[in-house]
């Protein structure tokens, strides 16, 4: 195993683990805010949950980017032949 491969595997694990931290905190905050809003104003639940879903998808994209980078490192690494 060359140093390139070891470095790729370690950095793939780091990319996924640290890339999940930020989106997890952000999703928690946005869901909490949406719950708060629905509790205050239950009749707006439809609009709120639709906006919440779209917002969550936006936040989740950052985590998915990290996952894609990790997969590129593991399966389509340009530095390993």
């Amino acid at each position: 195993m060359s140093w390139n491969e070891i470095a790729s595997i370690v950095s793939a694990a780091f990319a996924v683990s640290f890339g999940a931290l930020g989106p997890a905190l952000a999703e928690g905050r946005s869901v909490a805010a949406a719950m708060d809003a629905i509790a205050r104003q239950p009749e707006a639940a439809g609009t709120l949950s639709r906006t919440l879903f779209v917002g969550l998808a936006m936040i989740e994209t950052t985590a998915i980017y990290c996952l894609v980078v990790a997969l590129l490192l593991l399966f389509a690494n340009p530095f390993i032949h």
């Binding site: 639709r50 998808a57 989740e60 998915i64 980017y65 996952l67 894609v68 399966f75």
Partner: protein, 231 residues
């Protein structure tokens, strides 16, 4: 070694063109959807039968979602956006059939869907406000924003593609890993989660496509629509 999620499996070659498993599944889904649509709309009547009432409910729900997202009359957009939703939903859920891998778990299918949304945004924007009017939306709110708006129209399409690909592919991947660890009954809750992810991702892809087209048609992005809503 596990098979790479970025690689495709070639089934056979049609002349010089290699035909992958993904393409066969995609065409199969298209055939199923088209046949079902033809069969269900074959005998429409003013007094709906049970099947027709169910289909009308689906179409009505899609129209309501488009109306509340884009704030325009949904009629010109319902065919494209509804087809996108139904195709992505059946593609995501096709993993329930044994031996079939969902086509949306490969980046080529998602890239094609994203390209359709990108071109449809331009087409509907030009159709609604003319070529000059559509190009003018890039200079909103000021001229300084032109490069940012240009970059945004590319990156939002890219993130649309990668979001669908990443979610569906990771769901398939996790089930494959669970199967290799414990095959009996253990993957079933994960497969149920996979169904939920598939439905939510189909919904999100469609809603975001509607938001992009809506901002190209009515202009000004979300802020203008919110002002409209407030007034």
């Amino acid at each position: 070694m596990m098979r790479s999620p970025l690689a495709t499996k070639t089934l056979f070659t049609l002349g010089p063109v290699p035909v992958s498993e993904t393409i066969v599944v995609t065409w199969g889904l298209m055939a199923v959807l088209a046949l079902a649509a033809w069969f269900l709309t074959r005998s429409l009547s003013a007094r709906p039968s049970r099947g027709q009432a169910a289909i009308e409910l689906v179409v009505g729900t899609i129209e309501d979602q488009i109306r509340s997202t884009m704030r325009v009359a949904p009629r010109p957009y319902v065919s494209m956006i509804g087809t996108l939703f139904l195709f992505i939903l059946t593609a995501n859920w096709s993993s329930l059939l044994p031996g079939i891998e969902p086509p949306t778990a490969h980046i080529e299918t998602d890239a094609a869907l994203g390209l359709i949304v990108f071109l449809a945004t331009i087409y509907f924007g030009v159709q609604a406000r003319g070529l000059g009017g559509y190009l003018k939306t890039f200079a909103e709110p000021t001229m300084v924003m032109i490069p940012l708006n240009l970059v945004e129209s590319i990156t939002r399409t890219f993130s649309l593609i990668v979001r669908l690909f990443g979610n569906i592919m990771s769901a398939v991947f996790i089930i494959a890993i669970m199967l290799s660890l414990a095959g009996l009954l253990v993957p079933i809750p994960l497969m149920a989660l996979d169904l939920l992810t598939g439905a939510v991702q189909a919904y999100i892809f469609t809603i975001l496509a509607a938001v992009f087209i809506g901002s190209a048609v009515s202009g000004g992005g979300t802020s203008a629509r919110e002002e409209e809503e407030a007034s």
